[in-house]
Symmetry: C2
Subunit: 436 residues, 2 copies
């Protein structure tokens, strides 16, 4: 049976529930959902090379994490419970200055392993040494949009270097010709990138027809600093520089005001809500879901990196998002379970161009089977409520991405090797930092 992890096969998944109804799913050898429903088994039994018995599991679209720094899993638990600037200055940045490409490879493999285990099939990543991240993503079989974190801090020399690094990554990813891996431009944030840098990123992304991944208005200070420096709020600066497009994913967005929410909707910007990170770092305000929803913006979900979360479990993120919105805006009806699930599936897929993010015929087969034989799914008055509010990612049994099986009944190939390699990389990194 181990062979099932090797490549794409025509696959039949039997005995699952799709949207509450009994169904089978047939996936063709191109990784596309070719049939879903009660008749899929009859029609395609002879075509399947493997049959996966779902044993009553809930079949759902793979989850999409729209804001990560995957390799930061190596920093998981390295520093917590600190004020943002002190945490960055004293802990995170000194350690990051010792990162190597090999570290990023192992950190990203670990992140992909954790994402697969918890039902995520695609993510949107910003970091450094992204060629090494791409290698990790290619090997683990997950989908990703990868960008190099472009930071010029107003220096023309640094900007030149960042432009070339961005071009190199985009060319490299094109050369891979892997349908699961795409490049984006990654201007880090309006407070770390000059207007010239932002404009270059916007033009380059438009010319290359690639996405833009950026942090926007995570803290109140960013907004007041921007007003002091530029005479306008960060969103106005971004709009002036052409960053706000329908290819743009804006992370955090805690401090958007209502007109900015409307502008995001007009421009087609995809918002990535990162509730866990915002709570841990105490941003003091959460993304205004109600204004963005009223404006018709596409609202997606992300975990942020593991040093401010400290995991990549999108089930946890769905619950935290829904609960934080209710609590923070004082309305228990806000961000219902079905809306949270949509954020983490179809909305995320749309933002990253991964397909419909649904289990419709003709869609890429990014499918997750969630056990129904586990306490979090008993009783099952409402499967969507159980998925969002009761289960963690540990209820995921089987994961398929682009038609290829990445986890089968909780077995992921090479898991021990990945855990050992990542542990060794993390220990080495801390040692190098301590010796410097």
């Amino acid at each position: 049976m181990n062979d099932i992890f090797l490549k794409n096969y025509p696959l039949l998944i039997t005995n699952v529930k799709v949207a509450g109804l009994p169904a089978d799913i047939f996936i063709d050898e191109n990784g596309v959902i070719a049939a879903v429903g009660e008749h899929a088994r009859k029609q395609h039994k002879g075509d399947a090379e493997f049959i996966i018995d779902g044993d009553g599991a809930i079949a759902m679209p793979g989850l999409v994490n729209t804001h990560t720094h995957a390799a930061m899993t190596l920093l998981r638990g390295y520093a917590d419970d600190m004020v943002l600037q002190e945490w960055l200055n004293k802990k995170i940045w000194p350690l990051e200055s010792h990162l190597t490409g090999s570290d990023v490879y192992w950190g990203t493999r670990l992140a992909c392993l954790e994402m697969i285990r918890t039902g995520t099939t695609g993510f949107n990543d910003m970091y450094f040494f992204m060629e090494d991240a791409a290698r990790a993503v290619a090997e683990t079989g997950i989908r990703a949009v990868l960008c190099y974190g472009f930071i010029d801090l107003g220096s023309p020399e640094k900007r030149e270097a960042e432009c070339r690094a961005t071009e190199r990554l985009v060319a490299h990813i094109r050369s891979l010709d892997n349908p699961r891996i795409r490049a984006a431009a990654g201007p880090h944030a309006p407070y770390t990138v000059s207007k010239e840098g932002l404009r270059w990123c916007a033009e380059f992304a438009a010319e290359q027809q690639i996405g833009i991944h950026i942090h926007v208005s995570e803290t109140e200070k960013e907004v007041s600093d921007s007003v002091a420096q530029h005479g306008k709020r960060p969103v106005a600066v971004l709009d002036e520089c052409g960053i706000l497009s329908s290819r743009t994913v804006a992370a955090h967005c805690c401090w958007l005001d209502e007109p900015e929410c409307r502008l995001f909707a007009q421009r087609g910007v995809h918002v990535s809500h990162n509730p866990t990170s915002n709570m841990k770092l105490a941003t003091n305000r959460v993304m205004p879901y109600h204004w963005l929803k009223a404006a018709g913006a596409n609202i997606t979900l992300g975990t942020d990196g593991c040093s401010s979360n400290n995991n990549l479990d999108m089930f946890e993120a769905m619950k935290t998002a829904s609960l934080l919105q209710k609590f923070s805006w004082n309305d228990p009806t806000l961000l219902s379970a079905p809306e949270a699930l949509q954020m983490a599936t179809s909305a995320g897929s749309r933002a990253l161009g991964f397909g419909t993010g649904t289990l419709a015929t003709g869609s890429p087969a990014d499918i997750v089977l969630v056990s129904s034989r586990t306490a979090c799914n008993v009783p099952m008055h409402n499967p969507v409520s159980n998925i969002v509010y009761s289960c963690s990612g540990s209820a995921v049994e089987t994961v398929i991405c682009n038609g290829k099986v990445l986890m089968l009944e909780r077995e992921v190939p090479y898991e021990r090797e990945i855990l050992a390699g990542a542990q060794e990389a993390a220990s080495g990194l801390v040692q190098r930092a301590a010796q410097s």
Copy 2:
């Protein structure tokens, strides 16, 4: 090996880490930790009837959940995303009016199964049909303090009935003579119990030397209603009636003011923080951890019932507590990981009289082994951070309560039977409610 679940044996747990150091643990046939450390193996190898290979796991005290309505697991996912009063009136109370003792038995068994799976070895429960809950607790091997939810709504007749029901439960639990199960008085809340009822509960609990379990100041409305009705805040009413004692666990406490925090500390009241429930129901304020900590109160952690959470995972509760405190009071240093772990172990044990809640020699053997070979524990810069911020309860592999093995390498006896029985009970309950 199945025999290991049958009764208490002298047990040796090898190859674990206790507080970051390699250790073995020997548990005697009375369920007491007889030795912990690097020499436990040499000293006690010959004495052990079973040896559990920890395989590098983190050994930690069993988690203690200080506020539950365990049988409400049957209502998991039945109604979400609603305003509190509508949710109670239209959904929860109509369903609860059809509950039977058998439902409570199956709901509590399901809750105990979920708690064991996620590393909880003791809980503090308030509900109805508590004799049936006691039977479920006795069978599953966990610890509990059980109380009947006393609600008189100011009616003298109802009060009489509630007093008798409370007396019956306490007598019944004494008759069980089970060291793991104890009774408490359960005046539901100052807004559902008359002053006479509160006084009776306080006197009865003092006379019987048992605990008191009560909801306090969950919502702002409770506080303003109390001021309107009694001319004083709920905490003053409780103090007047003798409810505030060192045997009292007060749940929620979202709307305590600073003097009330000091009074709680003076009286020795144990506070149960229920962050997930408070977020889901949008209480608009969280328990003032900083004031309670400064006053020296004993602060513990609870999940609340599954209809407002919707699970019983205390790992999730630790993370949510820490993050919600940081976010809500705008201080990322508040409620650090070590403090969250202490809330969920030693503070909870102290509140419920379950022992030290530590792995010290001479303590009751309530021990949880958390896998180190899982993504959430890689890398391991800081085990306490990983436990609180990275892992869910699914990282728990083995659970021992009072020296008896309840889960071994993720196997819990009778799991399928419990899941099937609980599902059947939940379906029957919904059907009866629909037919009425």
